[in-house]
Amino acid sequence: MTRHIERQLAQLKERILRIGTLVEEAIAKSITALINRDTNLAQRVTANDVEIDRMEVEVEEECLKILALYQPVAADLRLVVSVLKINNDLERIGDLAKNIAKRVSQLAQAGVVELPDEIRTMATLAQEMVRESLEAVVNGDPALARRVREEDDAVDESRQRVRKMVLAGIKAEPERVESLLRINSVSKHIERIADMATNIAEDVIYMVEGDIVRHRAGDA
């Protein structure tokens, strides 16, 4: 019986990582599409989100099955509960990538709008955070997870700079208000992606150490 639950848990880990890979791809593609104004690529991101949604439901069902059939405790319980939450966060990241992709065609229709460099900086940071948080899941690495938490501040600051740029832009060129608001909303989505990566990192800390560090600032 013991062997069996271990197999189930290993499979669960594999599945969550597969979703992670798809989600990472979705972010990368949506950002590339944004930078290159590639509406075809953006449409592919939207289409692929269906697959992420499907896998999310599967992983959730798998978690519920393990909870009901094996009643795991201690580390096993923490793994299943963390996977449930990480699963949810990854699906949300997928949706955010889709939202960014949607803005690509809107921005393309609005004509030439230059993308602030700050958006690229933000996107790079957020992607890195997602990558690291998933690596922390794979390796059960709370130290890396703590680094991800710290990195979130840089993204938040970057987001504030974009917001200020957008406000200044609207004042200077009110006719560009729609495009600027879309850029603002892209930056908001990227910031949310970084927040989700932070959540995942916090779940890794819980998974490994059993401590809930959420809502606790400066936990080193």
């Binding site: 019986m1 405790v73 201690a74 319980l77």
Partner: protein, 295 residues
């Protein structure tokens, strides 16, 4: 995991999977003394029973090694661990049932509300009156339900019908059995189902107002429904009685107890609030046991 192949560990350990047996368990298997990991919340409780550096030998074989643990007042404490870890021996030592076994030698002491249990002047009969014990198999006396419950009072010479009636009802209610048997109190207790018999034994034990209630695998002979009822009852007893319970069933410990102590080869390994032991134990060794990696 490093393992000294020259010094072959006992067979019990050879059967385990080395990858998940922690260093402490290996040390224990090699006969070393290891400190018990006792969570601070255990120490914050007022103890009803204090087990103090207690050792017990069956002949030359040591079954309990230097166990020190406070048992909290009005809480349910579960002893868990693989077969042969000494949990039943420890439980039976509390009311000195091991006195009846030949070649038993003990050192250390236990104190019930401050009174030394192993003091040579302690009257064992008096001591046992201060505790209740319920065994694996229900053992109602071959008499009526009523007489079973009031047995302890009868042998103490209580004759007042009013007192006996009241104790009978209060105890049966306390054991969540009253509604099922109130119309047939004078029928034979042997006609009850297994689960009812076990709850009757608990009613009989609490009728004497014990300072501590000892339960030795109280559900191992019961079906799941009867087990559920006895577990519900144990939870009901919490806050009113101090319960020390041995169980093989990990889920029973997690469902029914406030504190859980994990024992291994006669040692206390880790002892803490049940919710912590089953969600984030301190020791890897405890983790391996409660998740079913060995034992």
């Amino acid at each position: 995991m490093p393992r000294d192949t020259e010094q072959s560990p006992p067979a019990a350990v050879l059967n385990e999977q080395p990858a998940v047996v922690g260093d402490r368990l290996l040390a224990v298997a090699n006969g070393e003394d290891i400190p018990s990991e006792v969570h601070h919340r255990v120490r914050e409780e007022t103890p009803v029973l204090e087990i103090d550096r207690f050792n017990l030998w069956y002949g030359s074989k040591q079954a309990v090694h230097a166990i020190s643990m406070p048992i909290p007042h009005n809480q349910v404490t579960a002893l868990v661990g693989p077969s042969g870890c000494g949990k039943s021996t420890l439980l039976r030592s509390v009311n000195r049932l091991n006195d009846l076994v030949q070649n038993v030698r003990i050192t250390g002491d236990m104190r019930l509300n401050g009174d030394s249990i192993y003091d040579p002047r302690m009257d064992v009969i008096d001591l046992r009156k201060r505790m209740g014990m319920v065994f694996q198999k229900p053992n109602p006396f071959p008499m009526s339900i009523y007489e079973n419950v009031v047995y302890a009072l009868r042998i103490d010479g209580e004759r007042n019908r009013g007192v006996l009636d009241e104790v009978c009802e209060v105890s049966l209610r306390g054991a969540a059995l009253w509604d099922e048997v109130k119309d047939r109190l004078h029928d034979s207790a042997l006609g009850l189902s297994g689960g009812q018999q076990q709850r009757l034994c608990i009613a009989r034990a609490i009728a004497a107002e014990p300072e501590v209630l000892l339960l030795d695998e109280p559900c191992s002979a019961l079906d799941p429904i009867a087990t559920g009822k006895v577990e519900d009852l144990i939870q009901e007893l919490r806050g009113r009685y101090s319960v020390l319970m041995v169980t093989h069933n990990m889920q029973q410990a997690s469902r029914a107890s406030d504190y859980t102590a994990f024992m291994y080869l006669g040692r206390l390994i880790e002892y803490g609030p049940t919710s912590d032991i089953f969600t984030k134990p301190i020791l890897q060794e405890t983790e391996s046991y409660v998740t079913g990696r060995f034992g």
